[in-house]
Symmetry: C2
């Protein structure tokens, strides 16, 4: 039975009024035919931008968005628009859009809901391609809000303006130097795209991305999705050269079949990692009052995700940790894990977690035991997990990781405590300086430097090993090195990844194994048919 055949069977088996409603909504979505990639690209890579409702009143949306775009270093022109005119942020303020002398691709609208239809007409006259409607007070509120939303959609369609939102937190496109959200993190350029139906969850993801060093290609708070919907963004990302991983937070999957078809197709090229809020009764109720949306049928949704190989996670932090792994590491080709640990306890809990997540810890051959054993005291574990029994031999962890990676009996290595040990050394240096009047400050500085350089060197070696052996190495550091999860290596397409807990490393590895299995299965199926 082919993939789509099975997929549709799931749907047919569950035909009920809810599904019929979804299917009838779908035709509306399909009508939109948002397939003009160039038009979409203008929204994320605009030439010039207008901010309607721009303000200097600290904390007003018009000030928040405007200051963010300006401070973020956007290279095009940014035109503040406000009927009051005058000067703002050192720039001339335009009383209305049509006064702007230059062409404008994208407008941010922060003025009250009732002003939006009129503004869209003006934007249409100016041939503006897109509007990010920050303004709330639409379908997330009440019946009259729903009516207002239909109205702005109608006006936007008529004027060939594509709307992001309304009720959106904004967009970030680091490759375009565009930072235009309600909060002001500046995640670096990278390959992960986040689409979030929730503004604050999206914000948290972007903040985490900044703090953890996960590079992003795009963030869109899709808001109420009056016009552009998740599948539209997905279709754009399918061909976006910067995007390699797609992360979605959705509550509303009203356009269920198109969403699943699109996500499934794209997932074969770029991993789609998804969290669906409102998966339980209590969550569903909360979601209904939040985005004003009824959730689709969960069992069907989950089943369809599983069949499509889409990673469907339960909590926001998983979205970020998986992003870090997928964007920084090669895919594992199987589920056999080598564990290298500075101390025994970590090896034990990691082996336990691997087993719970369906990963296996194979025995290693005697010749590898012998090779690693040369660098370790006689009483070491002589097996997998490789317990380095706290050795201070700096070659030991490198040799252990490489020997495991070389061997075709394992598919990935988890490496615990090597990175982050330096934090312990720094505390020891501090104590020594404090307690020992005879300790030489030069010596202490030298030790600190050596430790730091060892860690940098170790991460670089791991990147080389990943390149050579095409297998991931996932690190677990001791508590907070203050350097984030992703540790880029110059000139390398892979980065060091250092999670703070063994369970995060195992969870990410299990997710990557599941995705790679899906791809392999899918490929072999394609080659059979």
């Amino acid at each position: 039975m082919g993939f789509w055949q099975g997929y549709y069977t799931v749907f047919e088996m569950n035909i009920n009024p809810q599904i019929k409603r979804i299917a009838s909504n779908m035709s509306v979505c399909m009508e939109n035919k948002m397939n003009d990639k160039v038009h979409m690209a203008a929204l994320f890579y605009p030439g010039n931008i207008a901010v309607i409702g721009a303000s200097t009143t600290f904390g007003k949306w018009g000030q928040v968005i405007f200051s963010n775009i300006m401070a973020g270093g956007f290279k095009g022109n940014v035109f503040p628009v406000n009927p009051k005119g005058g000067k703002m942020f050192g720039l001339n303020v335009f009383r209305c859009v049509k006064d702007i002398p230059d062409a404008v691709d994208l407008a941010f609208i922060t003025t009250p809901a009732e002003t939006v239809p009129g503004l869209l007409e003006e934007l249409g006259e100016k041939n503006v391609k897109g509007a990010v409607v920050i303004t709330s007070g639409f379908s997330e509120t009440d019946a009259s809000g729903k009516k207002r939303e239909r109205e702005i959609t109608r006006v936007a369609r008529k004027n060939n303006i594509w709307i992001i939102g309304p009720n959106t937190m904004g967009v970030i496109c680091p490759h375009a130097g565009l930072f235009a959200t309600g909060s002001h993190p500046r995640p670096q350029k990278g390959s992960v795209a986040f689409i979030s139906q929730s503004g604050n969850l999206g914000n948290q993801l972007v903040h985490w991305a900044e703090q953890q060093g996960v590079g992003i290609s795009l963030f869109v708070g899709s808001g109420n999705e009056a016009m552009l919907t998740c599948p539209d963004y997905l279709e754009y990302l399918e061909n976006d050269p910067h995007t390699r991983i797609i992360v979605l937070y959705v509550e509303n999957v009203a356009d269920g079949i198109r969403f699943m078809e699109t996500a499934s197709r794209i997932n074969r090229k770029k991993p789609v990692i998804l969290l669906k809020g409102g998966s339980t009764q209590a969550g569903k109720k909360a979601a209904a009052s939040h985005t004003g949306a009824m959730s689709g049928e969960d069992a069907i949704f989950k089943g369809a995700c599983r069949q499509a190989g889409i990673l469907n996670v339960n909590v926001p932090s998983d979205l970020l940790s998986l992003s870090a792994g997928f964007s920084s590491l090669p895919l594992p080709m199987g589920n056999r894990v080598g564990i290298v640990t500075l101390g025994g306890g970590w090896g034990v809990v990691t082996a336990d977690e691997c087993t719970r997540e369906g990963l296996v810890i194979p025995e290693i051959p005697d010749r590898i035991v012998a090779k690693i054993g040369k660098y370790l005291p006689e009483f070491w574990s002589k097996g997998n997990p490789v317990d380095l029994v706290g050795t201070r031999n700096l070659e030991a962890p490198v040799v252990a990781v490489e020997e495991l990676m070389k061997w075709d009996g394992i598919d990935a290595v988890i490496c615990l405590g090597i990175i982050g040990r330096h934090e312990l050394v720094k505390q020891l240096l501090e104590s020594t300086g404090q307690a020992d009047p005879d300790a030489s400050p030069e010596f202490l500085t030298q030790v600190e430097k050596m430790g730091r350089e060892f860690e940098e060197g170790f991460i670089a070696r791991m990147a080389v090993f990943m390149e050579t052996y095409k297998k991931p190495v996932i690190g677990v550091s001791m508590a907070g090195t203050g350097k984030g999860v992703v540790r880029p290596v110059p000139e390398s397409r892979y980065s060091g990844v250092m999670y703070q807990t063994p369970e995060t490393a195992v969870n990410v590895l299990a997710g990557m194994v599941s995705y790679s299995r899906f791809l392999l299965k899918n490929r072999s199926r394609l080659s059979v048919h």
Copy 2:
């Protein structure tokens, strides 16, 4: 059926050679009769300390332990012992223990395994009460190591010296100003005791405790437990006035019945939170090569924990997050949760997680909706979760939390995004200062101060509410405020607790609900009989 009756039934149902072996080991443990609390207290609150093998060679165990004790500010005398004599850290070095002029309660031994029996004889002559044997090379290695371990136990018993270890990472007792582990964190004084059979896992816990602000009463790396075993430490902690919460990492539960009896008894007074490494086949194998111990029967162990109301977690980070909650918050008396969130998405995923963990999100009465509604725009969610729809009204979150806590229909509040929003404000202030040449620096400073003060004030209010209503409020902050999870409030017995993810907050609350249910059930059972 009474508790113990049920408990023994579980055991009887599973009588097998493994259990018989455990039972026969037990009699050996019982012989020890380690019930002299005064003797044990001398190990953690010693008058003077000797460090045997003290050294100035950076990174040697004798240097690591010695510099840690010195820099940690231990108030008693610390005597370095080394046959080389001379001076060290500005102190006279004693060639052997008997040269020390003062009384010594506790000795740390870092010299090679073969020196330990002789040293214990010397310590006996000096009436030293305890020895922390850092030295490895005992039962964790091979048959001759096991023999050495039996030998040191024999010599120690003969001399009435109590041994911690061997192969231990050391001890920390902040209330005694004693920091004597291989790594040098300085967690603050508090009420959580950690007993860990794994040194590196223990280290990680103590590091996290330091970084997250979890105050501890004791840390013991119990090592090979040649003499003092987990149940001995538990019995001590049962009556230790500083300890209110007990956290255990165990791999070896060879003295199974005594362990479970002790832990169960204590858990009725002080929550026992436990992680058992080696719960899966792969983990068990790793554990066997690590502490040289065979794990007990897992199913029995788990069942016994469940019946005894002991929280049995799977991953180390749960130990810490639960410690933070139990030590800082009042116990919830039921599973009904009020959610207050700055934005809708968080409310949705939190409601989902609550449902998955068996917590319920009750509807709130109209009068409470009306009261909260006064502080919010018309279109707010009007239900639980209370979505504050990003309001900037600073009273709104305070009123929402208090109204929920007042109501007898809920047992706990989870509060998302209120704390940590200031991090967003700080980024906005930075952008504003950067982008707006007319922004007044004084104004920006003032806003920063107000935001900071609001958060401090909010946390203080939460502590007052907890005192008043005897219900916990658990916070979830935006990414890293850099201030740790536990935020103490002066003059209050409760602290603010700010986890970084909704799932951690829910998981901790579920753990606390489970413990409180166990207590309630247990009390009512006691009152019936």
